[in-house]
Symmetry: C2
Subunit: 286 residues, 2 copies
């Protein structure tokens, strides 16, 4: 067979080095670069609800805040997506209290950079370690700035669904990874995030259902979580994956997280995730 | 940076030719090959509801049956995922009345093989053309058999959600594609398929919601569509994508289909898909 050419914009006219950069032609990459650079210089500022004292107080009491990684239901599944961390340079986007960076250092990473917009969170993170391999830095993910080809793993737990300019962030992120570098991320699942009224319905027999509407209507969702008016960015799974692919990531694994039988035995309330997933986990590679 | 090694089963110990075979090591590929071969020789037989006269009569009246490709709401989006078809050898899995093969010949394909389990559908397909480039053949997709490295494009419209042994089918399919070959497929969206009672709920103000439950409980779903007791196979988006990735496909595009404003103007009833998508479109490449 001769060289395949494509008419569709998803393949573009000229496939360049498919294995390394996905389905982007040079022309397309330049186009994306321009649009993402424009997006990056956009003045979008994150809500930074984590620096509100009432939110911070509530967040500090969650099991994932007091117990760290082991307090997060989806952590075993996230951990299973990680490469061998030995000697890697890693970055954690939305590091919060910094648990992942400290765990990564225990696993032998060469360096761990934790980034968060919230000074509240960063202060707590810095207080928890004096390890010179860890650095906690304040940055707004809407305008992420990272050195080129410097990291082997980018990690992000439940942060990127706050980011409006996901395309810009992923473009920056891919360039900051070395060839072959990994991205392991979790966000809130769009089924969880989509509804106008995101709460269980119960029918006359007590059967629980999750009332999905507006699933394909992407954009901000305002929710009351710990405090009123927390703004999240709803995107379909397809949109998130297509952003990754267009930025040159190869999708390695997509997991709509649910609890194991063992987890349900110790946390019966987690079973509701089987009816409606709450987390979406993605692994990709540059 | 040295060669990255991974501890996770999704990357496996030794990355082999990532660009071409995804994230599979040789060891992993052998393991998958064995499991898929076992799955292929399994005696699972498809329901073949299309050969029931009552179902066939109902199906024959759908707009996608009488008008062909243009009668299907998602066709413009599927078409946008196709490569340039000139001189390609293509296969259509679940070809039904054979519309796609006939359209593909008009676009200049070298050959079009349509496969369906239903003799009813195939008889109608064969009656509609005498073009020697088209062949319509009866096969059960649960036990698909295709020649090696023979096709440039595999196409499948709303058929693979009937297939229980998707892993076996994709394994066969990938081997039947030439390097660089394309897969463009649609299935029913898992949000549409998941619920125990798959029907809209209306609240006191007439607001429509789709009652999702059992989303993470994968397996057969029995539904009444045209006739009672049609069996479909529910899988999450993640599961379908991971099957593709493990079989060595590179995911190129994932689309949770919704109507355009123009489509809603002419088909107002299609707007409900914005609340709850009905179709999932995927493009991938060997």
């Amino acid at each position: 067979m001769g060289k395949l050419t494509a008419t569709s914009p998803i393949y573009d006219r000229e496939l360049v080095d498919v294995g390394k950069v996905g389905y982007c032609s040079r022309q397309k990459r330049v186009r994306f670069a321009l649009s993402y650079i424009l997006a990056i210089v956009d003045k979008t500022m994150t809500q930074n609800v984590y620096d509100r004292s009432d939110f911070f107080e509530g967040y500090s009491k969650l099991s994932r805040s007091t117990e760290g990684l082991d307090g997060a239901a989806e952590w075993p599944s996230m951990r299973a997506l990680l490469p061998n961390l030995h000697d890697l340079n890693i970055v954690d986007l939305g590091c919060g209290f910094g648990w992942f960076c400290r765990w990564a250092v225990e696993q032998g990473v060469a360096s761990a950079l934790g980034i968060d917009v919230s000074e509240n969170m960063l202060a707590r993170a810095r207080n928890a370690t004096s390890n010179p391999r860890i650095d906690y830095v304040q940055q707004d993910l809407e305008r992420l700035d990272l050195p080129l080809a410097s990291f082997d793993l980018a990690y992000s737990s439940l942060a990127l669904h706050y980011v409006a300019n996901l395309a810009g962030l992923l473009f920056t992120l891919r360039r900051s990874l070395r060839p072959g570098g990994y991205l392991v991320m979790s966000i809130e699942h769009p089924i969880y995030m989509a509804p106008t009224r995101a709460d269980w319905l119960f029918d006359e027999r007590g059967r629980r259902t999750w009332p999905v509407d507006s699933y394909l209507v992407e954009g901000p969702r305002t929710t009351d979580w710990l405090v009123q008016g927390v703004i999240k960015q709803h995107r379909t799974i397809g949109t998130t994956l297509n952003h990754l692919i267009r930025c040159g990531f190869v999708v390695a694994h997509v997991e709509e997280w649910g609890p194991t039988d063992e987890q349900i035995a110790t946390h019966p309330d987690w079973e509701e995730a089987r009816d409606r997933p709450m987390f979406l986990l993605i692994a990709a590679q540059r």
